[in-house]
Amino acid sequence: MKIGVFVCHCGTNIAGTVDVERVSQAASKFPKVKHSASYKYMCSNPGQNLVKDAIKKHKLDRIVIASCSPSLHEKTFRKCVEAAGINPYLIEMANIREHCSWVHKDREKATQKAIELTRLAVSKVSRNKPLEKTYTTIEKKVLIIGGGISGIQAAIDIAFANYPAVIVEREPSIGGRMARFDKTFPTLDCAACILTPKMVTVSQSEHVTMHTYSEIEEVSGFVGNFTVKIRKKARSVDINKCTGCGACYNKCPVKVPSEFDMGLGKRKAIYTPFPQAVPNVPVIDRENCLYFKTKKCGICKKICTVGAIDYDMKDEVIEEKFGAIIVATGFNQFDHSVYGEYGYGKHKDMITGLHFERMVNSSGPTGGKIIRPSDGKEVRDVVFIQCVGSRDEQKGLPYCSRLCCMYTAKHALLLREHNKDSQAYVFYIDIRAAGKNYEEFVKKVQDEYGAIYLRGRVSRIFEKGGKLIVRGADTLSGAQIEIKADLVVLATGLVAQKDAPSLAQMLHIPYDKNNLFTEAHPKLAPVETITSGIFLTGACQSPKDIPDTVATASAASVKALGLMVQDKLAREPLIASVNQDLCSGCLACLKACPFSAIEEDEIEDRKLRRKRTVAKVREAVCTGCGNCTAVCRMAAIDLEGFTNTQIMEEVETL
């Protein structure tokens, strides 16, 4: 073994406090050290050349660089020695700048410490092993969970790069929440006008497969190689035969409240959720269908000229492989029935923002008329209440839902547009309009559309004489306020989907106490998760408006495409490995692995002459944290790059 030690002056950064020459001399006397040298800037080109030349000249096989923190230049020197023909994992760095020269003033003591730090690195490197990067193959297909605007955008981006994308959507049509909206702030372009073309693009793309009315059942595998089971719920209509003529739902005798219209309108038992649905293929709601309830009726089947109706259709579970997964499951609305002071959600003329969207939509259940659900009369005085559920630790959520200020302003504007005699009263706590043209929009609603903004939360709402009495306050004037409203619109907050935790557990991604999925880093990895190969977009991670949702969708797509374009997936070899002869198979490591990177394996025990269970590292999944090594009582599992032997050698050298 021939170790070379190179000590860096770093200008005066190190040499100012540490006697670099002495360090170099001392190092030359360490066991197994063949050569040592110092240089002004080891990371510079001449410095690196000095290392390379010395490797060749002295036939060095391991290198120690005593310089700055490895977080700065470990990669630099790995490349440098690799170029000189040494395995890049046969170097170690002694941090004699950040941990020595910069924090000590006494030259003698600092020099002494620098020598010892170098000695530590030398002892460690003497136990290093050459390591090779590992490679895995990548399944060139991306799974997108959720077919709202977020999933649609991601699919378009992936397809644009000519990679296949699969959307799994649990509703009968893609489109998500955005399909329900009327207009969008702050530009007021109609949601359908900008969303429908995208839905059509997706449906026509040769690269995109859609599984609507389907749900994820099971996910296994790891980055590049996920195996996913998808349950395709029985639609009762053959998607390949159906022409979307609509005869079936026109003739269906059963009417039930439409989920898409938030119960404001009706749909049939065989239905498409909305006219622009993609795919434009109906589904039979078996709970309400007469045929399924009584075995009578069967009108749809009789009337369908192409024979697409299939009452015997069964759920089908398919299995597919994916290289990456984009989670785009969106949000749910906060359930305001917890507010007793607002009548436990029982007042008919109290609706949520989403109801309002449907109502104001000209293709919606009221044909764009804003009316009181109780008696169908047109409204005059409408109270909008912001922060319902949001910013309320007592009954709701601790966080701000971020879009309610804006959509409420939009609603106030649309109200006046639809009904010139109406008056909007908006109860708010703070107006959060931080976005391009957002503040201007709110200002416009106040100035030009006459919305009255009142600063205060509403304390009580009750019915009297056919009106809703709203009792609030305006803290700016110090006044209590009572408004007799025709309609109250609650800006309910955005919450995670009810089944978000079970999906997260399936995917092995963390979620926070509000059940929102957690990103790998809030600033620097906002669309990644700590599980590599799984990315987040849209409101499943935190409340987002449409521009932010689309932006994260494209960001997640780029991350997924970054994987797709690789031939093989290179992984740092600094991961755990099991010495199966030593392993007792107690599986303490498996249970302690934060990444499920350890699996059971069976080996033939030659001594016992029988098979026994042992642990095995799934190399592609292991992140190299080393937790398993510390829980292993028999030291059968070790971490490359930070092996027990290396660390014990370091301690030994003290």
């Binding site: 002869d581 030593l582 107690c586 009582r633 028999m634 032997t645």
Partner: protein, 287 residues
């Protein structure tokens, strides 16, 4: 009671439900009891049950790989079996547990004298095994009155000593250690293919009888049993130089109970102590 054990053992062997029954038989001194491995119906009458049946028989389970075993199991022994099951060392379907609701065993140190219940029996309640396939109960009248005693009395006494006193106490104790590893051999939960004490790459601690070697070994043994030791007391019984090993085991047992509400050997499905955590684990010792 012994009849019940014998009947069950006979039935198990007869129906081929098990290949072998592990129980107790009289030792050569006619007082003590030693393990009995019965694979023939004819030998069944050798089985005994009395207060001298101190051995934890689960230790012998691993000696019969691939065989179905019926095993006479006290409450404390069943706990170690629970840990072994939890740690994937046994297959539940391979063993038939003849659970004994025991009334306590004698203190071996006072062999021959009056039946004095062993220290560890005093804190044991209930004595029902956490797992069993059949449960055989001691007759009511034989049930020893259980002392409502603090099981951690001696631990607490040591805890109140000063650091120097503690150090001296343990150094004295450990200085006698001859590194015979009897504590390890007898322990039903020490089953590593190769103990770290014997590894050389790296050499985890000194193999020689020395202050720091003995200390390291004993700390290592204790840490490896943290959240696993079910206080069967075999180690202390086996120690030829009489180191109070149970006082170390009990200390950890007490700590993990207090810190993490964790108890060993009660649930085969529970995650090992160090392979699990709670977000609210105490951290007042961390700066």
């Amino acid at each position: 009671m012994i009849d019940q054990i014998k009947t069950k053992a006979k039935e198990l062997l007869k129906t081929k439900k098990v290949d072998i029954v592990i129980g107790y038989k009289k030792a050569s001194d006619r007082i003590g009891a030693i393990p009995a491995f019965i694979d023939k119906e004819g030998d069944i009458d050798k089985l005994i049950w009395d207060g001298y049946c101190v051995y934890n028989l689960s230790n012998y389970l691993k000696d019969f790989p691939g065989k179905k075993i019926g095993i006479v199991t006290k409450g404390c022994d069943a706990k170690s079996m629970t840990v072994l099951l939890q740690e994937n060392q046994l297959k539940r379907e391979d063993i038939f547990i003849i659970g004994i609701e025991c009334s306590g065993i004698v203190d071996e140190k006072r062999k021959g004298g009056d039946i004095a219940y062993d220290e560890r029996c005093k804190g044991c309640k209930p004595a029902t095994p956490p797992i069993y396939d059949v449960l055989i109960k001691e007759e009511e009248k034989k049930q020893a009155p259980r002392l409502e005693q603090d099981p951690y009395e001696s631990v607490r006494k040591l805890e109140t000593k000063s650091i120097e006193e503690k150090f001296k106490f343990w150094q004295d104790e450990f200085s006698r250690c001859i590194r015979c590893y009897a504590c390890r051999q007898i322990c039903p939960l020490c089953y590593c293919p190769r103990c770290v004490a014997e590894q050389t790459q790296p050499a985890w601690f000194s193999k020689a009888v020395s202050v720091e070697g003995n200390f390291s070994w004993n700390v290592n043994r204790a840490m490896h049993l943290a959240g696993r030791c079910i206080d069967c007391g075999e180690c202390e019984r086996a120690c030829p130089v009489g180191i109070p090993l149970r006082d170390i085991n009990k200390k950890i047992e007490k700590d993990v109970k207090e810190l993490f509400s964790y108890e060993a050997g009660v649930d085969t499905e529970q995650k090992p102590l160090f392979s699990s955590f709670d977000k609210n684990d105490p951290e007042d010792f961390i700066k």
